[in-house]
Amino acid sequence: MKARVYVTYKSGVLDPQGKAVRGGLNTLGFGEVGDVRQGKYFEIRLEPEAPGNHEKDVAWARARVEEMCKKLLANPVMEDFRIEIDGVA
């Protein structure tokens, strides 16, 4: 199974890298760019312990990846995360 994880800064958290990227885009002529927030993207391959019931596997994978996000992939002080399992949000 494949999980996709998107980690983004919470609104209100300063993102100086996003600001610098915005400046670069504006300089390149993309004047329509108002705000850029830079985040992180993970692709995680998972092996269910006893694969079979797809619905159950997806629920299991979602719970496991959520735990991974809380423990390591995201820092809840400054970041939010979003999970997709096999393409389903």
């Binding site: 958290v13 300063l14 100086p16 890298q17 610098a20 390591l72 992939l73 820092n75 002080v77 400054m78």
Partner: protein, 232 residues
């Protein structure tokens, strides 16, 4: 005074943190490896040094915070032992949950290597015990991610509990946006946990422990840690 200096892959101030308090404050310091399950016998204080543990991958300090030695550091902290994190060590303590908040990229994106002034706020912590509130110290910083961040409720709680121990200031002790090098919330340069025994600070006392290096104010911090160890 026996202190353990934890060495992570990518630490680069571990020798400074072993040498500076030894030469300037008469400590005995030993290195503790990140894979060790226990701190060296007789450890009275733990120093987490600066550097770039695990190349700052994922987030500064995030991977180091999961090291086997950190479980031992947590047990030591729970018993009231002084734990001091400098620079990357501060980041590791935040990531491990021993200190609240986090350290974001510097406001102006640049890595800053510079002498700065910090003002002592609360004097109930391992790094400030015996110092005077309002005292101004000259201690250098060297970091790309030192912009202290926590939500407003956490910041208010830190202030109320006296957990803000250092703020960036000018030579006279005044605060302003100019004297705040990295954009830290409320000019915070160092904090402690609620009990005061775990502290994190971005400035490097290990680089300011001998006059020939420009400042010996870092010795004040080693002395405070030793006083705290004697009480623990």
């Amino acid at each position: 005074m026996n202190a353990a200096v934890v060495v992570f892959p990518g630490s680069n101030c571990d020798h400074d943190c072993e040498t500076a308090p030894r030469r300037s404050a008469g400590w005995t310091t030993v290195a503790a490896w990140h894979k060790d399950a226990e701190l060296p016998a007789g450890t009275e204080a733990v120093i987490l040094p600066g550097g770039f543990s695990y190349g700052d991958y994922l987030r500064c300090g995030a991977i180091a915070a999961m090291s086997p030695i950190m479980a031992a550091v947590k047990r030591f902290a729970e018993k009231g032992g002084p734990v001091a994190g400098v620079c990357n060590g501060f980041q590791i303590l935040c990531e491990s949950g021993l200190l609240p908040g986090t350290l974001l990229r510097n406001r102006d994106l640049a890595f800053i290597c510079s002498d700065v002034f910090i003002k002592v706020e609360s004097t109930g912590s391992s790094a400030t015990r015996g110092l005077s509130a309002g005292e101004v110290l000259s201690i250098p910083i060297a970091h790309g991610d030192g912009n202290y961040f926590a939500d407003e409720a956490t910041l208010d709680r830190l202030e109320k509990n006296g957990q803000v121990i250092f703020r960036y200031c000018d030579p006279k002790g005044s605060l302003s946006a100019v004297s705040n090098p990295n954009g830290s919330q409320r000019s915070i340069a160092g904090i402690s946990n609620e009990k005061g025994n775990v502290i994190g600070m971005m400035p490097h006392p290990d680089r300011a422990s001998e006059r020939v290096l420009g400042s010996a104010d870092g010795v004040r911090i080693w002395e405070a840690v030793a006083r705290s160890a004697a009480r623990a």
